[in-house]
């Protein structure tokens, strides 16, 4: 037998064995994949933002197919897009609490004191490492707009007085601003939660007002007026998670500085005793 023939036969045999191996593997190791997955992924925004709590859009689609999530959990997509997903799957859109980002600071250039004029790199992350950024309140917003640049949805705009203003309609609660802010001032909260403390200063006492006129002085009046909805933590009132019902609107009325506000339909309102105007969004309206 010539060498060439032996080689050809050996190759043919090898090809036969490997082919049958592949065919068998294809038959016995077959994984049934839901045919709807690809289509479903294409219906989702595809930004992999993680706002739904899943690692990305594909994981969210798989969770949808298993019935572990409802279409409404994708807070990033529009109402119509969610409806399309629901129609495609033949399920209801479902209820998901809409969440938005809110800033825990109201110290703009009118109300909060700056000790020094920062001139370096125009970014909050860079300013923070230079003696806290030169603001009298070491915890306050520096107003250099790292959050505005981090937002993929155009939901944050810097006000002329140097505070970021969140457009709650556009906000998808993706959390990019939370990660961008070096002072950890953004929180993702339920949109329907009306009580909001726009301060992050962990100190107490009236001397805080020398650094910022809208600081929370930890007087605890609001906590006493709405004990079921607010609790003190590090000298700041914090909304209690899972507290049912609507807190009384009067909770903000005795706040001497206006650090706590009432946000309803995207409009923030100050309490009756607040002396100093603060702007969270849109024109101010005093209750």
């Amino acid at each position: 037998m010539s060498g060439a023939l032996a080689a050809a036969l050996a190759l043919a045999l090898l090809a036969f064995v490997l082919t049958s191996g592949l065919l068998l593997a294809g038959r016995f190791l077959h994984v049934e994949e839901d045919k709807r997955l690809e289509k479903l992924v294409s219906l989702l925004p595809g930004t992999n933002c993680g706002a739904c709590g899943q690692p990305g859009c594909r994981a969210f689609a798989q969770a949808l197919l298993k019935g572990e999530e409802v279409p409404a959990a994708c807070s990033v997509s529009s109402a119509q897009a969610r409806q399309r997903v629901a129609d495609f799957l033949g399920v209801a859109v479902g209820q998901a609490e809409r969440r938005v980002a809110r800033l825990a600071c109201a110290g703009d250039r009118n109300t909060s004191r700056f000790l020094a004029n920062y001139q370096g790199e125009p970014s909050c992350a860079a300013a923070t490492v230079i003696d806290d950024g030169g603001k009298a309140c070491a915890w306050g917003c520096l107003g250099l707009g790292d959050c505005e640049r981090s937002c993929d949805y155009d939901a944050i705009a810097m006000s002329p007085l140097g505070l970021p203003v969140v457009d709650e309609d556009k906000c998808t609660a993706c959390g990019d601003c939370v990660r961008a802010c070096p002072k950890d001032l953004f929180r993702i909260v339920p949109e329907q939660q009306p009580l909001w403390v726009a301060c992050n200063n962990p100190l107490e006492g009236n001397q805080l007002l020398e650094t910022c006129k809208v600081a929370c002085t930890a007087c605890e009046r609001c906590v006493r007026d709405a004990p079921e909805w607010l609790a003190m933590e590090h000298n700041l009132p914090v909304p209690i998670e899972g507290a049912g019902g609507m807190p009384p609107r009067s909770a903000i009325d005795r706040c001497p500085t206006g650090a706590i506000v009432w946000i309803e339909n995207g409009k923030s309102r100050l309490g009756a005793s607040a002396r100093v105007p603060i702007t969270l969004r849109g024109p101010r309206e005093t209750a």
């Binding site: 020094a116 230079i130 806290d132």
Partner: protein
């Protein structure tokens, strides 16, 4: 044929004026009406106050005790009254308790000595504890508790004590002042530290401008067995311990046999001098020898400043221009702009630079990187500042850490100094490191949840 191999790569030769007689002068700063003493002036956990508001304290008396082995106590810099103890921001997002002390006007402010120590009569463990009791930390700007550094050096059986007499910053004059005024303390301090370490060899490293002062000191103390002297070519940042050891390795030194960097431990000249001065008289650390300089001061120079003195007060005493443009905590190379002149002088402060309004007020505009490679040549750690800068601009902090060793950078400032495009590289690196620490903290928190 070949010259001695350069000690460490990169670095820069700064134009330094010759030392003058005034550099050796140290003036005493008077007491400010209010001293602010944060309870964390060392690297480590905060100390715990043992005095209460309203209490009268003596100069040198214990104000706050160390909470664990890695902390040092804090002592009163003045005889006076504790006004209050308040929580104040600590400069890194948290808070720290601060003792506010009003020195008693008219008091002699004499510090009565406590238990005096002697390197010949006390054993190493006693001395180590005594060093800790003085509240001393690294006074070259590093702020790590001295007793911890000693303990670690003892564990790895360090044989050679290197006294770092390299002036860390251009324009500062702490080294000539210490050599001229505290020569005896340096020799005593070296003996105390040597006793703790169990080493008999010590070497004092200085750069050429300070060689004459060092020789004079050695000659005066010849009969007291002073350390060997090593005179190095001036080059910034030779004062960094790691680089200093590289400069010293392979050069013959009198009285030092077979110098090896891994068998050496570095203490700054100021630390050694203070250990000598404090232990000899049983005193505690209550003030700080710093340089105040810059064109915004009428009387720049060295000052012995009580701890807790507001920087603004100290500058005013040195004849500060009424309209300072910028004040750097630290020197012109590594110093950071201050946001608040009410901040106190703390342990480990080396000096402050005050600029009057004028040319320095204008920061040059940062231009694009032209990839000239000047920063790469200047980096003493052979990092790649240009690449790191580009990555920082794109926010790729993970890559900066994992692929380009950002964490090795100790922010000496050579790269930014030589950059022809005035790119604020050091600030970008500092901010990137801060962001990295933040993201790590967030990741840790998420991992815990």
């Amino acid at each position: 044929m070949f010259g001695r191999r350069s000690s460490f790569p990169g670095g820069i030769r700064l134009d330094m004026p010759d030392r003058v007689a005034a550099d050796a002068v140290v003036r005493q700063m008077p007491f400010a009406p209010l001293l602010r003493l944060p309870l964390r002036q060392h690297a480590g956990p905060a100390a715990e106050a043992v005095v209460r508001a309203g209490e009268e304290v003596l100069r040198g008396q214990l104000l706050a005790q160390a909470t664990d082995e890695t902390a040092v106590p804090l002592h009163s810099p003045a005889t006076g009254r504790v006004l209050r103890i308040t929580e104040q921001p600590d400069g890194s997002g948290g808070t720290v308790n601060v003792i506010e002390l009003a020195p008693l006007p008219g008091d002699t402010q004499e510090q009565t000595g406590g238990r005096a120590f002697d390197p010949d009569r006390h054993d190493a463990d006693e001395l180590l504890e005594a060093i800790r009791e003085t509240g001393i930390v690294g006074l070259g700007g590093e702020r790590g508790p001295t007793h911890l550094r000693l303990r670690r050096a003892r564990k790895r059986a360090a044989e050679v004590l290197v006294i770092n007499g390299i002036e860390g910053e251009p324009g500062f004059s702490r080294v000539p002042a210490l050599l001229a005024r505290h020569g005896a303390d340096v020799v005593t301090g070296a003996r105390f530290l040597g006793k703790v370490l169990g080493s008999r060899q010590s070497v004092l490293a200085v750069e050429k401008p300070d060689a004459a002062a060092a020789s004079t000191m050695m000659a005066e103390l010849e009969n007291r067995n002073p350390p060997a002297l090593a005179v190095l070519e001036p080059r910034y940042p030779q004062g960094a311990a790691e680089l200093l050891l590289r400069s010293l390795s392979g050069r013959p030194m009198e009285g030092v046999s077979a110098f090896a960097p891994e068998r050496a431990v570095v203490f700054s000249l100021a630390t050694v001098a203070e250990v000598g001065r404090l232990l000899k008289h049983g005193l505690t650390l209550t003030d700080q020898l710093i340089t105040l300089t810059g064109d915004g001061l009428r009387e720049p120079g060295n000052y012995r400043v009580p701890l807790g003195t507001p920087v603004g007060f100290a500058l005013a005493h040195a004849g500060a221009h009424p309209e300072l443009d910028r004040v750097l905590a630290g020197g012109p190379m590594r110093g950071q702009a201050m946001g608040d002149l009410e901040r106190p002088v703390t342990k480990g402060a080396t000096g402050f630079v005050a600029f009057a309004a004028g040319d320095s007020a204008q920061l040059p505009e940062a231009l694009a990187c032209i990839r000239c490679g000047e920063c790469v040549a200047a980096c003493p750690l052979q990092l790649h500042p240009a690449e790191l800068g580009l990555l920082a601009r794109r926010g790729e902090i993970q890559t900066m850490i994992t692929d380009w060793h950002l964490e090795r950078c100790f922010e000496c400032g050579c790269c930014a100094y030589v950059c022809p495009s005035h790119i604020p590289l050091v600030q970008m690196f500092r901010s990137a490191k801060a962001q990295w620490r933040r993201s790590q903290a967030v990741a840790d928190k998420e991992a815990m949840a």
